[in-house]
Symmetry: D2
Amino acid sequence: MSTETTNRAAGAGTTPDVETVRALIAEHNNWGRWGADDQVGTLNHVTPAHLVEAAATIRTGKRFSLALPFDADGPQRGGFGRFNPVHLMFRDGGDIATGTIVDDFYGGKDRHCRGTDDLIIMPLQSGTQWDALAHILFDGTMYNGYQPTAVTSKGATRNDIAQAADRIAGRGVLLDLPRFKGVDALADGYAISSADLDGCAASQDVEVRPGDFVLIRTGQLQARRGAWGDYAGGSAPGMGLDSVPWVARNEIAGLATDTWGMEVLPNETPDVFQPLHCVFLVGMGLYVGEIFDLETLAGDCAADGRYEFFFCAPPLPFSRAVGSPVNPMAIK
Amino acid sequence: MSTETTNRAAGAGTTPDVETVRALIAEHNNWGRWGADDQVGTLNHVTPAHLVEAAATIRTGKRFSLALPFDADGPQRGGFGRFNPVHLMFRDGGDIATGTIVDDFYGGKDRHCRGTDDLIIMPLQSGTQWDALAHILFDGTMYNGYQPTAVTSKGATRNDIAQAADRIAGRGVLLDLPRFKGVDALADGYAISSADLDGCAASQDVEVRPGDFVLIRTGQLQARRGAWGDYAGGSAPGMGLDSVPWVARNEIAGLATDTWGMEVLPNETPDVFQPLHCVFLVGMGLYVGEIFDLETLAGDCAADGRYEFFFCAPPLPFSRAVGSPVNPMAIK
Amino acid sequence: MSTETTNRAAGAGTTPDVETVRALIAEHNNWGRWGADDQVGTLNHVTPAHLVEAAATIRTGKRFSLALPFDADGPQRGGFGRFNPVHLMFRDGGDIATGTIVDDFYGGKDRHCRGTDDLIIMPLQSGTQWDALAHILFDGTMYNGYQPTAVTSKGATRNDIAQAADRIAGRGVLLDLPRFKGVDALADGYAISSADLDGCAASQDVEVRPGDFVLIRTGQLQARRGAWGDYAGGSAPGMGLDSVPWVARNEIAGLATDTWGMEVLPNETPDVFQPLHCVFLVGMGLYVGEIFDLETLAGDCAADGRYEFFFCAPPLPFSRAVGSPVNPMAIK
Amino acid sequence: MSTETTNRAAGAGTTPDVETVRALIAEHNNWGRWGADDQVGTLNHVTPAHLVEAAATIRTGKRFSLALPFDADGPQRGGFGRFNPVHLMFRDGGDIATGTIVDDFYGGKDRHCRGTDDLIIMPLQSGTQWDALAHILFDGTMYNGYQPTAVTSKGATRNDIAQAADRIAGRGVLLDLPRFKGVDALADGYAISSADLDGCAASQDVEVRPGDFVLIRTGQLQARRGAWGDYAGGSAPGMGLDSVPWVARNEIAGLATDTWGMEVLPNETPDVFQPLHCVFLVGMGLYVGEIFDLETLAGDCAADGRYEFFFCAPPLPFSRAVGSPVNPMAIK
């Protein structure tokens, strides 16, 4: 069934364009699949039974945080209006060491306890993050047919990140593409195909199942760490149009990469920016994560040969938000 | 051993004061217990074996988010410099519906994909949150003897929240005190004692074990929800000085309540503001959570009689931060 | 010519409604008056000759700042998404007193100079402020016929505050209505009429001329100072529909009051929120200032009997912004 | 009297060091000159008589805004924790064009007026700005001997910018050094001397008088405009140690340049960062402005040969702040 579309997307002699994207969305469309009011898309694949099975992957008690530190040294360089988190103290150790806190906090009567306090200013997609389904629209609609008027200056009244507050936990699977291919990192511009994903899973002896959260390592984050350059928005390896059938067929709940934008850059068609965001988020209602730091986890998986784990990555339920920073946990 | 201190703290005829707090810190002190360089305190109680055991609590696949929504309707009223999260869109559906996004985002050449984007400004302790160990100091030091000079205007170089990035997952236990006592909510000013905690656990037929994350419901959040009044900083039920021996004896990894400030307010001594913060965070290195929304979870526990669950509540690893918002997940 | 409209607006037996506002806008319309591309409206009344004449009002060298302090004690209470300015230090005296600044700022090699630094987060209309002409639209357009699509998520491409960067200086006139009427403050809900303004000017022996910036004191700011209550958005004295002919006839450049919203509240018609904002900003292109602190100036004017002065109140030229905080200066 | 110091500062055979700075501060010290409680330093030079004289410089009614636009295209690149202003709309034209504003603002009952609203996040010294006297300390004190404990996490209790709320207006003088020297811009690293300043004033036939605000053009801002590179903090022309006697002798009220940091960079001594900030702000209590855009004004002064004007540049009175953005006005 998907052959034709796949050919259109990536076949010899056909250049992908906006119609390619429309066709992929039409073919792999989940609108209405979980009801006309659904706002969480593929997270519906995570069933109670899936969670119970996922718990069985916890065997050694090893824990991995998959978040980059959130700070001024992050990868943003101002593109797309996104900047690295700005962290500010409004009570600090200087106030305590010098004693000014007594006047400034207690109004002059000391009560001995000393506190520090801080504040963050951050674009919600400036670091390790989930996209809400309200993050992307195509041809005038978002997932499940909701209109752009559902995202006002006050935020999204449909498909916001808070819908996923209790949804993002289950079985995780890491697909380590550079290890599979014997390289340090996929090249910038490399488009990951369905065959790549099947081959990688086979080589790792791991099965991808419905409801899984699939973490795809390209190696780019590690290659750029601390010297980010154009990591945020520049050329990158990533998911290709040809990966769509694989994603759809496996009925995964979520997909995350170690890159800024999940999909290959430059995009495979100049006509559509981030075409897979349109297919995945708008068409499928797929939860997409970006800037996941998979290095330590990948090393451990390579060492013990086990690429499955318990995955728990709850977004912060910002009401009406279209994304959220996250500290994803993998537990083996 | 703890009798004397307990008597001092809450015994007839003795009024707690700053010396009471000093004595409790001295008696229940964990400085050096996990090394001179330790920065995570009681999170050391969470061992790999603990995590594997905790996984076995996942039996039905039910999931609970324990976070309040992060938005302008939260409980903060400006006290202590804390305000509710300010959420702002910097690309929204209006730009998409009207088409202005083509000029403003694509510079005039349309590439069809439509994105929305947003930003948050928030005190890190304005909603459901973890305190970092760097949040509290007493008599000039924080947990493990670190100095106030370790918290500059740029944040904490010791005991910051990022230290706990991969640490906060394990077995969770809910202690539902109002259900135990047959009331809707504990009264403002009620100081929870060690006997209360033992009695509640016994009545729920749940055992508290080393490494557990103990969630203590007072009912106050539910009583105030949406009409917060002075929830943030005013009178409240909460942990009393007499609860210290229980907390220490059980070697729990973390403690969270459904109140703004974890401990009883007004405090049991006018001499020390939030004395248990001093004992728990500074003396023990105990991780403390606040403003946890335990209502739905509590209802489920009452229904099935099972008060234990898998708990995963990773803070966002803000570098040098003294707290973090969190969306704690309980999975049964 | 204006009689009919005035009667309609405030006459016996006629209740103002949205048609009243439409009629006032139609009658006092300045669209195209200064060209199809004009973006500053009545600021065009300020001519070079006006400025030279205005300079002659400086006779004693007395200076007055007409801004409220910008801080957490300001009048905002969260309504309309506006909050008081949040001021944060990111280098402070604690870092200097304790010496941590050497590591945190100089990377360990001291260079002796010590700096402090800070940051502000503020709604642009949270304190003493100018409205940009892009702040208000009515019947789908702003001043000079510009469309709402000219104000995207990135701000205004027409009528933004930066257009007025070099425009707001000239002759200022204070009209002290409570002194004229022999009261401390006009009552909440009092609608200032054209007759009030003429009477006040006559009693003060001051002439209002084209290009003037007219500051209208109601006394409400002084009555509420420091105990703001519902000053921001609640009942207030202010300009009434009947004041429109006076404002139009005098060809003033700008108008500012000591109230939150310039016009009387509750509004004179329940059908239109802030109807004079529609008439003044949209119809006339009149610059409107709010939350001006006129107390000290008013006292001085009463003392010396001179109600004219040099007025210099440049907005900060935030590109594409729809308002700006300002520290207006009056110099006599 | 100043010869020795001048020699020490810039003379042949002597390398300036921290002692040079100490000597300059000792020699040109204004502590106590205007009372032990003074917090505005050289702004005391602006007398009522000075203001009246300054008014006489308004002869043609020409107005000049000396501020750079405050926006994302400004000169900051993140150094020193400073970034360009972040401007965000929280009600915009998209809400109006699509009609969502009726629900989101009026709660469903339309009241016809349409408003837009916005917010700024900005370091107070990220654009055209005044330094408060609390911005700089040296050898443990700020101007007039105040201690670093006067600048807590809540800001400055002494020498904050709000002290100058009604103080910054008077006679302005432009010294156009590149025109004087026949170049487009002074070279990066060029240290302006007292002789340069005297020569420039003489060539322009303008006298500098007590209480003046002196604006010094180097040409660097124009050379870098829109392609800022390392304008913020990199090499630059600017005031040299040898300029100190000129500044002191003329009893000026304030000094501003078109550069990021007022003084020459690299600094004349590696031992002290921004040594003139220490001399001017700490020793003299001199108000210093930076990133002033002097181009249009300079062109006009060259055209009419008149380098004096009325200058009005009130800072926003942020309580306890150590700096303020400003839109300085020059009126001729």
